[in-house]
């Protein structure tokens, strides 16, 4: 890989960047012209910039093949060293979410099912495998991976999923195995075990990239990563305001940079701007839901194809999703990130995500959210595709009820719209809100 590549520069930095800037201006104008929603505040003014960031991310991916080393990684993988080595990083889960929002996930899942994958397999995995097999994607083109990095801190499905990708793309699969945490903190031997795996992964990545990792660059990326995570946490904390200036639905959409672009200066800038916009809303008393009467906590992944619909359904009845365990997962570990010890702290951080800690920890997170965000109830999305996230929700509902916090279980799926029933969901939500208001 050369440092200066005129084709890359022309396609990404000149042509692509100008086009995206124009698109941002256009969508800003469109935003100004959007008629006022009866129940929701206007979208955040930073929205068009977010769109530009995400488009730019995929634009780079589109031109990366043969020019940059490409890695596909799981959402909870320690990716900072890949960034420091100049990899173009693709997150199949984020790409899956884009497919969900654009309503093409069902078709891609179908491609995977045609090839023999069961409908019981995670819909992100099916979307991704469907996209890999067919080459279809709403982002133009996904670059072929030179390396697959799979971390088991979110589920075990990724292990089999990435093996399939490895075989399909003839690319090496590096696994970071993160032992499940039964206690509050990871024991030192577990941290050491993960640290050694990251060090081995660095070796493989260096071979693939054909260059050596400089620790100064890794420290810099980790510092930027920490800043983005901290800002993200600040953004989420603004949901404590009455009325809340943003809902978890906004957070779902604005989550992309902290997942797939952390470690970048522009991500830090973007979140700083978003935070300023939210503070302005808090100061003016603008709520994301115009007549906020009830405040709820969301548990689990979003139902990507129905984010807008659900947000309108709740807003109609004055219900605001003020916090979610899902978006919080990318904020809560900020204090553990230490740019001076990038590898060791990464080992610690990537051992502690919510899904690696069991249902008891998640219950405590929800209890804290109800308290801190002044919530009246909890919506538990029982996600057919994400078993590790959904397990224990029946018990969590009972424990919350014992605390006097009503919780509703909603059966759906994060990326397979066939597992979502609009009428049933609408009736349950309406009944739940009637009970909360009685």
């Amino acid at each position: 890989m050369s440092a200066w590549d005129p084709v890359w520069h022309w396609n990404v930095n000149v042509l692509g960047a100008s086009f995206l800037r124009l698109q941002r201006l256009r969508s800003r104008r469109a935003l100004e012209r959007t008629p006022e929603h009866p129940h929701l505040a206007p979208p955040l003014e930073t929205g068009p910039r977010l769109k530009e960031l995400i488009s730019r991310h995929y634009l780079k991916g589109r031109h990366a093949e043969g020019r940059r080393p490409v890695a596909w990684v799981t959402s909870g993988a320690p990716a900072e060293f890949l960034n420091a080595l100049g990899f173009c990083i693709i997150y199949p889960e984020n790409h899956g979410a884009v497919c969900g929002i654009r309503r093409v996930a069902e078709g891609l899942c179908g491609k995977a099912e045609d090839a023999g994958w069961s409908r019981d397999v995670c819909s992100y995995a099916r979307t991704d495998i469907g996209a890999a097999l067919s080459g279809e994607t709403p982002v133009g083109k996904l670059p072929r991976p030179d390396l697959l990095l799979c971390c088991t801190n979110i589920c075990q499905t990724v292990l089999y999923w990435y093996r399939v990708l490895g075989r399909h793309f003839q690319a090496p699969v590096v696994v970071i195995d993160t032992p499940f945490l039964y206690g509050a903190e990871a024991p030192e031997h577990a941290v050491d075990y993960v640290r050694r795996q990251i060090e081995e992964a660095v070796q493989v990545a260096q071979n693939v990239a054909g260059r050596d990792l400089t620790h100064q660059r890794l420290r810099e990326v980790t510092r930027l990563s920490k800043q983005a995570i901290e800002l993200w946490g600040e953004i989420l904390s603004r949901g404590r305001a009455h009325p809340a200036p943003l809902t978890a639905f906004d957070e779902f959409i604005h989550l992309a940079p902290v997942v797939e672009m952390r470690g970048e200066a522009f991500t830090v800038d973007y979140y700083a701007a978003m935070l300023a916009a939210l503070d302005e809303r808090v100061k003016k008393g603008i709520g994301a839901v115009k007549k906020e009467r009830r405040r709820l906590v969301w548990d689990n992944l979003p139902v990507w194809a129905r984010v807008r619909w659900l947000s309108e359904k709740l807003a109609e009845r004055g219900a605001s999703l003020v916090a979610s365990t899902y978006t919080n997962a990318w904020a809560e570990l900020a204090p553990m990130v230490d740019p001076e010890k990038p590898v060791e702290s990464a080992a610690r951080v990537y051992l502690h995500p919510i899904l690696n800690r069991g249902p008891g920890h998640k219950l405590e997170v929800m209890r804290r959210m109800v308290r801190d965000f002044g919530a009246h109830g909890v919506l538990l999305h029982s996600d057919r595709s994400c078993k590790p996230y959904s397990i224990g929700q029946m018990d969590q509902r009972e424990r919350l009820a014992a605390d006097g916090v009503p919780a509703l279980l909603l059966e759906a799926d994060h990326n397979d719209p066939r597992a979502f029933s609009e009428e049933q969901t609408a009736t349950r939500l309406a009944a739940f809100l009637e009970v909360l208001e009685a």
Binding site: A401, P406, E411, S421, Q424, A430, A431, E434, A438
Partner: protein, 263 residues
Amino acid sequence: MSALAAVGIDAGSTTMKAVGVDSSGALLWSLLEEADPRLEAQAARMLEAARTRAGRALPVVATGYGRALVRGAGRAVTEITCHARGVFRAMGAGGTVVDVGGQDSKVIVLSGAGAVESFSMNDKCAAGTGRFLEVMAGRLRMSLDRLSEEALCTREEASVSSTCTVFAESEIISLLARGVDVASVVRGLHRSLVKRIAAQARAAGVRAPLLLSGGVARSAAVRAMLGEELKSPVLLPEHPQLMGAYGAALLALAEGTRMKEQG
């Protein structure tokens, strides 16, 4: 004779019900029909009948799957709230409302004061609903009443393991093909249904007594076996199928919503 003061309409999946109450909330008048595919027109017709009887426009609340299509209603309220309100008024006690309708089943835990403490509804599966019995009755060429009688006239019980309506049907076909007694097959399929509902009730947290509503409550076999399964006395309101519409009428009365003038 006291006059109608409010109307509730329950546009369910299988039947449509309208109930009129007087100013004290007593159930005075009702209509029950098979659900018509043109439910908007059907609801309008029922409301017109209520209006003719009352001689004036009345406040209306609508509930059930088709609640959004009831034109003359001042407000649409979910079945959970309406069944809770109707059953509590009819029975005068808290407990666990088990409403088994044509396409869904609901369990509502009521406090002693009639407030909804928790609820659960079946999800994406018709196994714990009236549809299950309808499919089986069709397969066995029996009326729903006859189905209940058959189940109660035997102590033998064939094991119907599947909780899926479609698979249970094929299971029953193979039981009959093996020459298993029809009555014990019928009792077995009731057990399968009742177990499904009982599991749902346990998940919501059962509080005695069980208060049944919905069309399936008409089945004596379901009532007997559900009480047995959940070890709780089972109470039945006088008009179990009308409880959703009755609750809606009570809400209409309380809120004084105004019926829009109809064409």
